[in-house]
């Protein structure tokens, strides 16, 4: 089993295989499952992601009433053809938002790596799909590549907002997406690692401060930013830009930053945006006025 990104790259290079292939083979070995089983389960996850994006693009609203329908707004805006950031980037953003809006509405999603960060990977995947025209297998492999990097983060740091802040959730998700975009675009395993490091570096310090404790504000918009960060960093890595701090060290830094964050900024809804006057007012509105006085 690879324990860090250095070992992941070593395995890929030793056998001249892609990162997705390393992850697929490890899954088969460790769990004694056939390639068909492993690929099949990932395809089912892919289908859930597609369905969530589709549903979100039709417009959903959360039970709290805090969020919903922004994916629709973004698609309508893109359809006018006069955007600043361009179609692909905004497509990723809208599809990430769509996924997280469905999640907030208690809809079915695939946690990637968590539910609160479920938008980054599918957002990036379905946006670059239109540019790169991948086969179905390549789309499934995209998820294995993302998963390989997430596996390292989960085992060496954390993917939990309560433990590591939002950098551990959306930060990891965006970085995972970035590494997978690079592989799908034909980059090397090293370039995937560079993209991962660049993305995560740009997410360091991100606090988890959900308003009223719900995975809605600011989580959904952070997935949007995460998906766009993923694509920009992938382009940087493909251009040959490297991270001065190696990938594994960036992951270590993320973990230490998370550990040193006060608990008010780690999913307790006691600090950050959750503690703003509006954040508190919204919490009172959702839970009834007594909650704010506790």
């Amino acid at each position: 089993m690879f324990r860090n990104v250095a070992e992941l790259l070593e395995q890929a290079n030793a056998d001249s295989i892609s990162i997705s292939e390393v992850m697929i083979r490890q899954e088969m070995d460790v769990h004694q499952r056939s390639r068909e089983e492993v690929m099949g389960q990932m395809e089912r996850n892919l289908v859930i992601m597609e369905e969530a994006v589709e549903r979100g693009l039709q417009g959903v609203t959360s039970h709290s009433g805090l969020t919903g329908n922004d994916a629709v707004l973004l698609q309508q805006y893109m359809a006018k053809g006069n955007t600043l950031s361009g179609h692909l980037l905004l497509d990723a953003v809208s599809k990430a938002v769509a996924t997280n809006e469905v999640n907030a509405a208690m809809g079915m999603i695939c946690a990637t790596p968590t539910a609160g960060s479920a938008g980054c990977v599918p957002g990036a995947l379905f946006a670059v799909k239109e540019r790169l025209n991948p086969t179905r297998e390549q789309m499934i492999r995209f998820l294995f590549t993302a998963g390989a990097f997430g596996f390292v983060v989960a085992n060496n740091a954390s993917i939990s907002g309560a433990e590591g802040g939002c950098q551990a959730e959306v930060g990891s998700a965006a970085a995972m997406a970035s590494a997978a975009v690079v592989e799908m675009a034909g980059g090397t395993p090293e370039q995937s690692a560079e993209a991962f490091a660049i993305t995560l570096k740009n997410m360091l310090g991100l606090v988890c401060d959900p308003v009223a404790g719900l995975v809605e504000v600011p989580c959904i918009k952070r997935n949007a930013a995460g998906a766009s960060n993923a694509i920009v960093s992938a382009d940087m890595a493909l251009a040959g830009v490297t991270s001065r701090i190696p990938c594994d060290e960036v992951i270590g830094a993320m973990y230490r930053i998370g550990k040193s964050m006060p608990s008010a900024l780690r999913e307790t809804a006691e600090g950050g945006l959750a503690a703003t006057p509006t954040g508190r007012r919204l919490a009172d509105m959702i839970y009834g006025i007594n909650k704010g006085k506790e």
Partner: protein, 220 residues
């Protein structure tokens, strides 16, 4: 390594909104139900840390109730779990506990029927993955999403050997095993995570082995 599978990272497929607070909570509830072996008639759930602070908005209460009803993370019925529990005369009480815990997402579930009861502590470590850290006062470390058998036994020579021998005879591979006891020669607990589900016939044989008091299992 805490995470063994890529599907712990890309997955689980679940009903939103939170993998830690909804999917993880459902898995802790379901593990409690499966280990108890029968449907409980009552449950008292203490929520700590971030679980206590934000459970309502995340449907953590719905998810734990769903788990106690036997639902998985992707079961649409989770959203009606509290009503369903009420209809089935399962009394569930949630307590926002302020005690400090080692992990920010911790739940202590006491559950039972008129005849028997059980107490379990679970933590939700991220991405829907959970660990059971305590059972009836015994400390342990068990992932709630792998098949496992739990064996209450007397701390005597040969108790562990007889169990592993039975498993070997039935070609059941042990993935992880832990033994804890309250005192030398007193009650002890074996937790054995296995690669495949342990069938009923093997369970019956284990129950009859010497120094074994009670056997329960967690089916994946």
């Amino acid at each position: 390594m805490k995470y063994q599978s890529v599907f712990d990272i890309i997955g689980p497929v679940m009903v939103g909104p939170s993998s830690s607070h909804t999917a993880g909570a459902a898995r802790i509830g379901r593990a409690a139900r499966l280990i108890f072996g029968i449907e409980p008639t009552w449950a008292t759930v203490h929520l700590y840390g971030s679980f206590a602070k934000t459970y309502r908005g995340h449907g953590t209460d719905l998810a734990i109730a769903g788990g106690l009803l036997g639902y998985d993370t992707d079961d649409d019925r989770i959203r009606f779990a509290l009503e369903t529990a009420k209809k089935q005369n399962m009394k569930i009480e949630f307590i926002e506990d302020t005690a400090a815990t080692e992990h920010p997402n911790t739940a202590r579930i006491k559950l039972g029927t008129e005849e028997s009861s059980m107490e379990l502590v679970g933590i939700s470590i991220g991405g829907g993955k959970v660990e059971i850290t305590e059972l009836n006062g015994f400390e342990l470390r068990m992932s709630g999403n792998k098949p496992a058998i739990l064996i209450m036994h007397n701390d005597r020579f040969g108790a562990i050997a007889s169990v592993t021998q039975i498993l070997a005879q039935h070609e059941i591979n042990i993935a992880h095993m832990e033994v804890s006891r309250k005192d030398v020669g007193k009650d002890a607990l074996m937790v054995i995570e296995t690669d495949q589900n342990v069938e009923d016939d093997v369970m019956h044989i284990l129950e009859k082995a010497s120094h074994i008091n009670r056997v329960s299992r967690l089916i994946n």
